[in-house]
């Protein structure tokens, strides 16, 4: 599903050069739930952005779902994100002026679906995350956990193969964090999605199939997560 070969990403901050990623190679299979972990500044968010088509590496090959991202134009990358990737962010990042249902429907505006079809799909996605009864609420009327579930509904509504989530539990309490991680695991198990999250929450480890550690832009090690060992939820 995901193939990164010798990917490097360099930033300039003032006169300093920051090596966010240094020759990182990574392979993730289809229908896996993977966590990228590491301290702040380790390059885990940059890695997530690169494989989701949000950021471009300075060098190295990126292939996701059989598509080579290196040669794509900005618009092609946008189309790739629209069809292939679903996003979940730490601060939920719902559009405040739209209702829960409309937020979920938003990515479908980019498709050729009719209004009725869009509405139906959005309702289905909201049902998957268990929020059908909150469809007409604005984001500020929802709790943090509910907002993140709306965001997850938004990420799956286009039937994207890859779901990426940057610190999805970072702004949530323990109970809600567990619920969100469980939901993400459901996506991989029942809906066949590939899920990649960035987290420094140790709780995440027991839900995922694989934990990838980074530090200072370098891939340190890969080891099986709790789900692979059967520690929590159903075995992968």
């Amino acid at each position: 599903m995901i193939d990164l070969v010798n990917v490097s990403r360099l930033y300039h901050r003032g006169t300093d050069e920051i090596h966010a990623l240094e020759r990182v190679s990574l392979h993730v299979d289809r229908q896996r739930f993977v966590a990228l972990m590491g301290p702040s500044g380790s390059g885990k968010s940059t890695l997530l952005n690169v494989l989701a088509g949000l950021d471009r590496p300075n060098s190295g090959e990126v292939t996701v779902a059989g598509q080579r991202l290196n040669e794509m134009s900005e618009d092609q990358l946008a189309a790739f994100r629209a069809h292939t990737v679903g996003f979940v962010f730490q601060f939920f990042n719902l559009i405040p002026v739209l209702s829960a249902l409309e937020n979920v429907e938003l990515p479908l505006l980019l498709t050729n679906l009719s209004k009725a079809e869009r509405r139906q799909r959005a309702e289905t996605a909201l049902r998957v995350v268990g929020l059908s009864d909150r469809a007409d609420h604005r984001p500020r009327e929802l709790s943090g956990g509910e907002q993140q579930r709306v965001a997850i509904a938004r990420s799956i509504v286009t039937d994207a193969e890859l779901i990426v989530a940057d610190e999805p539990t970072g702004d949530l309490d323990a109970k809600n964090a567990e619920e969100i991680l469980s939901l993400l695991q459901t996506l991989r198990r029942d809906f066949g999605k590939t899920v990649v999250i960035v987290s420094h929450d140790p709780r995440a480890e027991k839900w995922v199939d694989e934990v990838i550690h980074l530090d200072k832009g370098v891939l340190l090690d890969k080891r099986p997560g709790g789900a692979a060992r059967g520690a929590a939820g159903a075995p992968g």
Partner: protein, 387 residues
């Protein structure tokens, strides 16, 4: 148009700001409409004077210099002149302390219908004008201003001659400028009664049979009087009216400069709001891009937002202008004729529609730079900086 609800919702995001911006633009647009109406009033008068076979003969020294009344018969005899009439300034006032509120002239009723055939007046009005000694034909703007109607009798005291005359209104004249015409003979009789002689005229207006002959006829008239006691100058109606209002041109320039300043104001108000509302939303825009919205879509929805706000404001402004112009017309009608057509404040739908377009265009223009900036911003960088 599936993005329209999104655009609409975004305008409602900060209702106070949208309202203040729209109100500011609307007032500026209203102002521009009113300012542009002033020179447009002048243009309308010049355009309505386009009858190209009507010519004016007057003393070369100036309108206040007179010509012998006998000149009229000589002009009528010139080949090519279909008919001709004389005009004498009466300077009549309803109330002398208020001054002359509209120009009024003693004219010859014979030939009047031919000289002003282009007015398309009811033949009966011309017929009555000839028939009744005290008949008056009155400009429709003058009628409306004083709430007179055909059949009313009104009295004017002359500020030029020592007479006061009563007139019966027999017809409404469709000219853009205020006007009032009555029979020369009526004035002549009143003057004869007080022992004064009346044998001069200020202007002679003639209708020429063929546009091609206008120039030679004008030359012939002026040559005819070249060695007489009053040298004449003959010109087309358009040239005469243009010269009459030439003094207002510089005032018009100042009005136009002010209108340009106010338009520039709109640009700043609209641009400021567009940049504010886009700047505080960079995070959200990055999210939209992350979930796959293309640059162009982002750019056009942001532009649509700025354009829609300005469009709504423009319509409100044009409506406000229409409303205010009505009031100004009433007020300015008591002001006297010194500023001429500049204070006619006639509502022109062309100006209002144009203003709405200008407003929309400015909205789009002012949204361009911030929208382009926002749509070009790198998502990864924004996410790093904002979240």
């Amino acid at each position: 148009m599936k993005y329209l609800p999104l655009v609409w919702r975004n305008l409602g995001r900060n209702p106070l700001r949208s309202l203040l911006t729209a109100a500011a633009i609307a007032l500026a647009i209203a102002l521009v409409c009113i300012l542009r109406t002033m020179p447009a009033g002048l243009d309308a008068v010049l355009a309505s004077a386009a009858a190209n076979t009507r010519i004016s003969t007057h003393n070369e020294a100036g309108i206040v210099y007179s010509m012998p009344y006998a000149y009229l018969a000589k002009v009528r005899a010139v080949p090519g002149v279909v008919s001709a009439i004389s005009w004498n300034w009466f300077g009549g006032a309803i109330d002398v302390s208020k001054g002359v509120e509209f120009p009024n002239f003693a004219v010859d009723p014979d030939g009047f219908a031919e000289v002003y055939a282009d007015w398309g007046l009811d033949p009966k009005a011309f017929e009555d004008f000839r028939k009744y000694r005290d008949a008056a034909l009155v400009g429709h703007t003058t009628l409306e201003k004083h709430r007179w109607k055909v059949g009313d009798v009104i009295t004017l005291q002359s500020t030029v001659f020592p007479v006061t005359l009563s007139f019966r209104i027999v017809g409404s004249v469709p000219t853009a400028t205020p006007s009032f015409y009555f029979q020369r003979e009526y004035l002549a009789q009143a003057l004869a009664a007080s022992g004064a002689q009346f044998d001069s005229t200020g202007m002679i207006w003639s209708r020429i049979d063929d546009p091609e002959r206008v120039a030679p006829v004008m030359r012939q008239i002026d040559e005819m009087f070249h060695n007489s006691e009053a040298i004449t100058s003959t010109e087309t109606e358009k040239s005469f009216v243009g010269n009459f209002f030439s003094g207002l041109k510089q005032l018009v320039t100042i009005i136009q400069i002010v209108a340009a300043m106010v338009t520039l104001c709109i640009v700043f108000i609209a641009a400021n709001t567009a940049s504010m509302s886009i700047r505080e939303r960079v995070g959200e825009i990055a999210i939209l891009k992350a979930i796959g919205f293309r640059r162009q879509t982002i750019f056009s929805t942001l532009l649509a937002e700025a354009g829609l706000l300005a469009l709504v404001a423009g319509i409100a402004g044009a409506a406000t202008a229409g409303f205010l112009l009505k009031g100004l017309q009433l007020y300015a009608s008591s002001a006297g004729p010194q500023l001429g057509p500049l204070t006619a404040f006639a509502i022109s739908s062309a100006i209002l529609v144009e203003a709405i377009f200008v407003s929309f265009f400015i909205g789009i223009l002012s949204g361009w730079v911030p929208a382009l900036g926002a749509s070009r911003r790198s998502v990864a960088q924004t996410l790093r900086e904002v979240f």
